[in-house]
């Protein structure tokens, strides 16, 4: 129901800072304590398993608090299944990444308020009012949940009057919050929309847990009043919890359609630099452009892009980098541009994607810090590093990078930062005004030693089936004695092009001598002869040539 990778992605939508100003500033907002608790917990979500376990523990705690409030004695286990229902709804809501995690922590603070209220023996109305007020300003409109549910306490006297008092108190708090513009709208002041992304139109499902809690408590009152057999009550509760799974599952599925979890999976492996994990995750659908982008980035990070490119079903140059119209929030593109060596384009995205749903996006802050170090803008880099140092997960990374501040020699000697700095010495142009290759050429001119940029460039032209440009590219970047070995697929492309250049109009014919001079191996030529025979023999014979450039060229539509 809840994708652990979607939960883990929440960690990238915030940066909890151990900083007095940050903590105090967050706390002082309406719902501030719930927000702080949520962000504190979510900072540990960097691993999907931990994210899932922590979420399940919180949901279990929520079930326990519902039970503690609803039970008459510790032996009142028959109502336990009934207490599962709100937690099921809460869990399903969390599948939606647009709902903030404080939706859960605020809910639990309201439950904690209920447990505390239950144990108060005197001046209960006064305490109920105090709890409502404190809850409103620490947890937001979840205080309304408290106000509704407190009156449903077992053996509560005058529940209707108390509900009116508590609800009036909560309403007054909401009114103040709204009139002072502490919250944007009335809906934010009084409904779960408060915990949803700004004005994004909260789905009605996020009411489910809010409705399920008082309904469960009402059912508890009903069970008590009709003196239902404990086993019947238990089984009925279980059945209800099972029934609750149906809408919960439907909602989760709807969210999966709207927010495909693949992106979360890809980002998880990327941010953890687990390239094998990323390749494995991408293998499920490599024909999708964005999946192919991640796959090829992982191959590139492993130094295997050209070597393994055609092991997968690639379709055109978009498979390497798909440039979306709105790059401001496209964090994937920042990672891909970094891998390509186009650090300026990476920063263009990272600069604008610095802020995520709940604060800084750690991955984008890291990219910005790196690029500022590459640029030699040490004061700005220092700002980003200082920020990351306040987050335990990123402290070590930041401290390690602090040693580069104001030390040009260290930056230039570092494989990543030094390479990036050399790439930045390319001639100035606007980022992504034409196509990725128009920026790669000057980068390669400035830093021909960037193997990843070189492979990206070569593979881009190969996937685009632009053989003439491939030939020029090889001439420019693979001709000197200290050039890298020409990748197999490029050899295949050139052998093919050489053969067919003789019959192509407008193409200057070139022979095998040129190919041999530019890194084509005799084995490739021999295999091409075999390929030609297989092509004559028919499609079955060609199967063994899958993964060759010849097969891609002839049989893949782009």
């Amino acid at each position: 129901m809840v994708n652990p990778f979607a939960l883990a992605y929440r960690e990238q939508q915030q940066l909890f800072l151990f900083d007095k100003t940050y903590i105090w500033g967050t706390f002082l907002k309406v719902g501030g304590l719930a927000t702080l608790l949520a962000r504190f917990i979510v900072q540990f979500f960097w691993n999907p398993t931990i994210a899932l376990i922590l979420t399940l523990l919180l949901l279990a705690l929520s079930v326990w608090m519902t039970w503690v409030f609803a039970r008459e004695s510790r032996k009142d286990w028959k109502i336990l299944p009934l207490c599962l229902v709100p937690a099921v709804m809460l869990g399903a809501s969390l599948a939606d990444n647009r709902i903030h995690f404080e939706y859960l922590t605020a809910f639990m603070l309201a439950q904690a308020g209920l447990v505390a209220y239950k144990n108060i023996c005197s001046r209960r109305i006064l305490w109920g009012v105090i709890i409502t007020i404190v809850l409103y300003f620490t947890a937001g409109p979840a205080a309304i949940l408290f106000a509704v549910c407190a009156a449903l306490r077992p053996s509560e006297k005058h529940p209707a009057e108390r509900a009116v008092v508590f609800l009036s108190t909560a309403a007054a708090c909401g009114l103040i919050a709204c009139l002072t513009a502490a919250v944007p709208t009335w809906a934010d002041a009084f409904t779960p929309a408060f915990y949803f992304d700004l004005d994004a139109g909260s789905p009605a499902f996020h009411w489910a847990a809010w409705i399920a809690l008082p309904v469960s408590l009402l059912l508890r009152v009903l069970i008590r009043s009709v003196r239902l057999n404990r086993w019947i009550a238990f089984v009925s509760g279980l059945a209800l919890a099972a029934l609750a799974l149906i809408p919960a599952e439907r909602f989760s599925n709807r969210i999966e359609q709207e927010q495909p979890s693949l992106a979360y999976i890809f980002e998880y492996y990327t941010n953890n630099e687990d390239w094998d994990g990323l390749i494995k995750a991408c293998e499920k659908a490599p024909w999708l452009p964005r999946t192919a982008n991640y796959l090829n980035m992982a191959l590139s990070r492993k130094g295997e892009l050209a070597e393994r490119l055609l092991d997968y079903n690639q379709r055109g140059a978009d498979a390497l980098v798909m440039v979306t119209r709105d790059r401001a929030v496209d964090v994937a593109q920042a990672h891909i541009m970094m891998a390509m060596g186009n650090v300026a384009a990476a920063q263009d995205v990272a600069f604008n994607a610095l802020y995520s749903l709940n604060g800084y996006c750690p991955a984008m802050v890291k990219i910005n810090a790196q690029v500022e170090l590459m640029r030699g803008s040490y004061e700005v880099a220092d700002k980003y590093l200082s920020l990351l140092e306040k987050a335990p997960r990123y402290r070590k990374w930041a401290r390690d990078h602090r040693s580069f501040l104001h030390d040009d020699a260290a930056v230039e000697a570092d494989p990543i930062l030094g390479n990036g700095r050399r790439n930045l010495s390319a001639k100035n142009a606007f980022v992504m005004f034409t196509n990725p290759m128009s920026e790669l050429f000057p980068i390669l001119d400035a830093n021909p030693s960037d193997k990843r940029a070189l492979e990206y460039g070569l593979c881009y032209l190969l996937l685009a089936k632009d053989l003439n440009s491939v030939k020029h590219f090889i001439t420019d970047y693979y001709s000197s004695p200290d050039s890298l070995e020409l990748p197999r697929i490029a050899q295949e492309a050139m052998v093919f092009y050489s053969e067919y250049s003789r019959n192509m109009e407008g193409v200057e014919p070139f022979g095998m001598d040129w190919c041999y001079e530019h890194g084509v191996q005799p084995e490739t030529v021999a295999r091409f002869e075999e390929y030609q025979k297989a092509a004559v023999a028919g499609p079955v014979s060609l199967k063994r040539f899958r993964g060759t450039y010849w097969y891609y060229l002839i049989h893949t539509e782009i």
Partner: protein, 485 residues
């Protein structure tokens, strides 16, 4: 030199040896490394205490007016009362001397003393600004805030989370009057908001006759009109240039809006086909409309470096909202291979301060952008000595009495804009600017991940309610702006 040694020794000897005070100190001929750099600045007497940090090594104490101030959490802090007491002890030249002592290897060393000059001219008590991440497409939070310059108190005028996280920009006041304000909100819940003595109005400012909604406002001194530009603005990120971002216009014109009739009007000379006109501003007598104008170039962005704006003015008749029939060139910057932006005339009408840079009009992203001044009495143009740095100086506004100027600068880190204040004398000369004081400036500015944008003085606190602004932007359909026949 010997006098100085004696003075320092005498001052040091007055200190009691217990509690870590220096008994004697050896002068070192070095400037004290402090942040913010308040050495030799001129400040108004009603400014909040100028707390600062010593950035050198070792424990430091400060001697000022015979009082010893010790660092607290790395900051020399002054209470409001203590600060006023210090300022009241200023010498005949209006200055207060500060000397920093530092303890190195058990020895006290004293840096060269520095002075802070106290101007008899008070500064407007409030100023407002937008706090925005310095990116240009993505932001999560931004808002328009105001700061009490006599304390550290900051209040929110408007936050974008109240209107769906949209962009809020171009807040402007009529001669610093906090009751007359205009700003824009973009995308969802967008519109131009005019606050006029308690009344909040939303305008839909795109017309069929103009190329965009209204941008870059400036109030007429009568409060009856607001000059705007209309701009087709685009922006792009440089691959590798000291100026990271380029903001450029593909077209732009200048129009004037009538607050009462909700109509705009223009002159063919402010809306010429073959020119880009932008950044309008009225003269204090309201009879002239100044603006920047460049020969239209294209295609953009290829020719972005060829767009060079000069400073022009046209007569404006507030009686019937009409324009003169000729343009007057105030400063032909393109003839000098330069471009101008953000003209602002001093309240006495004598000086016009503008930003000068190599090309284009969006100076905040141009490292070479500096503040210049035109003396309108004789037409002479000069850079503002002592104000400019090697990085960006840009958007500026005059205080209501014309004695102070606030401007944005990227001099500290090259990216995050901060507000600096400078005193302007009767001849238009500026003093060394000082950074907006904070309780703990080093920590505050290092932690700040937003730029101070569009600093503007106000003579009082802006009291329009956030709820009112939110409701108008969210609920009001807005008044359509028409075109004067």
């Amino acid at each position: 030199m010997m006098n100085r040694v004696f003075m320092i020794l005498a001052a040091a000897l007055t200190m009691v040896s217990c509690s870590g005070r220096p008994e004697s100190a050896t002068p070192i001929d070095e400037e004290a490394p402090i942040f913010p750099d308040y050495r030799e600045v001129t400040v108004p007497s009603n400014i909040a205490p100028l707390n600062f940090s010593f950035l050198g090594e070792g424990r430091a104490v400060l001697l000022v007016c015979g009082e010893v101030v010790r660092e607290r959490s790395g900051v020399f802090r002054f209470s409001s009362r203590g600060w006023k007491r210090l300022l009241s002890k200023r010498g005949e030249d209006g200055s207060v001397e500060f000397t920093i002592f530092t303890n190195k290897d058990g020895k006290w060393l004293s840096y060269n003393p520095f002075r802070i000059y106290i101007s008899p001219d008070p500064i407007d008590p409030w100023f407002s600004y937008r706090l925005i991440p310095p990116g240009y497409q993505g932001w999560q939070e931004m808002g328009i805030y105001q700061r009490d310059l006599e304390s550290y108190s900051e209040k929110t005028i408007m936050r974008n989370d109240l209107t769906g996280g949209n962009c809020l920009n171009c807040h402007t006041y009529r001669d610093g009057d906090p009751s007359k304000m205009v700003f824009h909100a973009r995308s969802s819940f967008g519109g131009t908001v005019v606050v006029n003595e308690g009344k909040i109005e939303k305008l839909n400012t795109k017309t069929d006759s103009t190329i965009s909604a209204l941008v870059y406002p400036f109030w007429h001194p009568s409060g009856e009109y607001i000059a705007f530009s209309v701009n087709k603005t685009l922006q792009a990120f440089h691959n590798h240039d000291a100026n990271r971002i380029e903001v450029y216009d593909e077209a732009s014109d200048v129009v004037v809006y009538n607050v009462r009739t909700h109509e705009i009007a223009w002159s063919p000379l402010t809306k010429a086909e073959d020119r880009f006109e932008t950044f309008p501003t009225f003269s204090p007598d309201g009879k002239w409309l100044y603006f920047c104008s460049a020969e239209a170039v294209g295609p953009m962005p290829d020719k972005y470096k060829e767009a060079r704006y000069g400073l022009y003015r046209i007569a404006f008749n507030p009686g019937d909202m009409s324009f003169g029939d000729s343009l007057e060139c105030v400063y032909d910057a393109p003839a000098e291979g330069a471009s101008v932006s953000f003209p602002r005339v001093s309240p006495d009408g004598r000086f016009l301060c503008f930003t000068r840079h190599g090309y284009g009009n969006f100076s905040i992203w141009h490292k070479d952008a500096d503040l210049w001044m035109v003396d309108l009495s004789d037409g002479s143009v000069r850079p503002m000595e002592g104000v400019n740095s090697s990085d960006v100086e840009s958007f500026h506004t005059w205080s209501s009495d014309g004695k102070w100027l606030v401007f944005s600068s990227r001099r500290d880190d090259g990216l995050y804009t901060k507000p600096y204040f400078t005193h302007i004398d009767a001849e238009g000369h500026a003093t060394k600017p000082f950074l907006l004081p904070q309780k703990d400036p080093t920590r505050y500015y290092k932690r700040l991940m937003k730029s101070y944008n569009l600093p503007a003085f106000t003579t009082g606190k802006v009291s329009v309610s956030k709820r009112g602004l939110t409701d108008v932007l969210r609920k009001s359909p807005g008044t359509d702006v028409g075109v004067k026949e």
